[in-house]
């Protein structure tokens, strides 16, 4: 009885909170994400072209080399305190590219330097990006296993 009353009150309050909440500017946010995300990808394309045309890398190697360059750049900008400013402007535009992944590795590593090199930098480095590896690698193995199963059956 008390529970039902509380639930009803909570629901009523949630509606009030939603009604009075300041709104995000959807259009502006998405335009900025599009612009910055697109530009990061263009930079990636330039690097890929450089590695495949000038350095004669294969497609896969060129893509890997591009990733490494972008991650280096992101680490540098994060260290200089510039990447969080880009992120403030671009939101997902600088989170979704591989540079955002790098930022989420570098930022906690820097933040927890004071807690030591092992349990600070070492342990906290993947406190945000760790899940990406867990789910990325985990699901890739499942894909491999399913493909294996299909091979056996087929």
């Amino acid at each position: 009885m008390q529970d039902a009353k509380n639930r009803k009150e909570a629901q009523r309050y949630a509606e009030l909170v939603a009604r009075l909440a300041p709104k995000s500017e959807m259009g502006q946010g998405m335009a900025r994400a599009f612009l910055v995300g697109g530009l990061i990808c263009v930079l990636g394309q330039m690097l890929t072209d450089f590695f495949s045309m000038r350095m004669r890398f294969g497609a896969q190697s060129a893509a890997t080399a591009t990733s490494i360059c972008l991650i280096f750049l992101s680490a540098l900008l994060t260290g200089l305190g510039l990447y969080d400013r880009i992120g403030k402007f671009a939101g997902a535009g600088s989170i979704v590219p591989i540079t955002g992944f790098a930022n989420s590795v570098v930022a906690p590593a820097m933040e927890f330097r004071r807690e030591g090199l092992v349990m600070g930098v070492g342990a906290k480095m993947f406190s945000l990006a760790g899940p990406v590896l867990v789910y990325g690698i985990g699901s890739s193995i499942i894909v491999g296993l399913i493909a294996f199963a299909l091979e056996v059956i087929g």
Binding site: A10, K23, D84, G91, A107, E111
Partner: protein, 346 residues
């Protein structure tokens, strides 16, 4: 004679006096509309220390020392130090107490700590358990970010309801007996808040989590003391922010409280200007504490404000409770502060 009024309020008949105060603030707070009023502004976020946490407790310690310096008291004169902060195991308060050497009760009320410590300090002074008591608290943007949110250099966006943790500290010296007679301000009532939770789970919307507790405590205070907005020059809330303040007004109206909006002063809304891009406003223990000590107490003592109700609000969540999907309980404690003539030769 019972000192209790109604269910939640006590009357402090002896009127424990506010003998002194001091505030410390960071650069961003210094750039705000009340920037010139802080007693001390730290040079940078490290304040000469080697971690953000050390900087935070150093601010707290220096606020207490400044407060005592301004009133000509020594740490040995003070019988009790009531303090708390936002960090796990209230390390700022504990470590500052270690440096100060004053007998210490550690408090946790999240951002309601300033009014919690004043309520308890007022009761202890009025009860004759101590003559000189320091009530203080602090917060720091960088320590709160790393404990509750994300590393500083992470490139994420802040939501519109999010608030900016104030880097600052405030300390108040309360006195009873002969010392109190000289005070230009006195505590007259304290209302202890109930912990309320209306199911808000968004840790980026603290104002919404705390507004129900603020409305509840305010209504209880008005009921217990038979007062209303008319009896106060200002009703001060701690850090509801713009969104939380709007919600408080709505909730009070629902409770049938007649709201004088121009008398509702939220420290979180006031401490930063709109161009400082803090979204919903300031927050943190240091928000209400530094505003109380930089602006409100001087105004009361000068007689510009005759009577205010100071009600800091706290969100009683932790990173663990947030990650486990629990909703956010809120609390608010209120203390009434009045101007006194103060006997010069007492």
């Amino acid at each position: 004679m019972s000192r209790r009024l109604g269910k939640q309020t006590v009357a402090l008949a002896g009127g424990p006096g506010v003998l002194g105060w001091a505030s410390v603030a960071g650069r961003k707070e210094h750039d705000g509309p009340y920037g010139d009023k802080f007693d001390r502004v730290i040079a940078d976020e490290m304040d000469g220390q080697d971690s953000f946490e050390a900087a935070e407790r150093h601010m707290l310690e220096s606020a207490v020392r400044l407060c005592l310096l301004k009133t000509g008291k020594k740490t040995e004169d003070v019988q009790l130090f009531l303090s708390g902060d936002l960090l796990n195991q209230i390390i700022s308060a504990g470590f500052a107490a270690r440096a100060l050497g004053i007998p210490f009760y550690g408090l946790y009320g999240a951002c309601s700590t300033m009014s919690e410590s004043l309520s308890l300090g007022g009761m202890l002074a009025d009860g004759g358990f101590a003559d000189l008591i320091v009530c203080a608290t602090c917060s720091h943007f960088c320590t709160a970010e790393r404990q509750y949110r994300a590393p500083l250099e992470l490139g994420n966006q802040r939501t519109p309801t999010q608030q900016w943790t104030v880097t600052g500290a405030g300390a108040v010296l309360l006195g009873a007996g002969a010392a109190a007679a000289r005070a230009k301000a006195a505590l007259t009532h304290a209302t202890c808040g109930r912990v309320l939770d209306l199911g808000v789970t968004d840790a980026n919307n603290m104002g919404a989590a705390m507004a129900p507790a603020a409305a509840d405590t305010l209504a209880a205070h008005f009921h217990d003391t038979d007062r209303s907005f008319e009896d106060y020059d200002l009703v001060v809330t701690g850090d509801l922010g713009r969104h939380g303040r709007d919600l408080l007004i709505e909730l009070l109206k629902e409770k049938g409280v007649f709201v004088r909006e121009e008398k509702l002063f939220d420290c979180g809304c006031e401490i930063f200007s709109a161009r400082q891009d803090t979204h919903a406003g300031g927050s943190g223990c240091g928000c209400s504490a530094s505003m109380l000590c930089a602006h409100l107490l001087p105004e009361v003592c000068a007689g510009h404000l005759q009577r205010i109700l100071f009600m800091a609000t706290g969100a009683l969540l932790s990173p663990t409770s947030s990650m486990q999907g629990e909703s956010i309980p809120g609390v608010a404690h209120a203390v009434a502060i009045e101007h006194r003539q103060g006997e010069e030769n007492a």
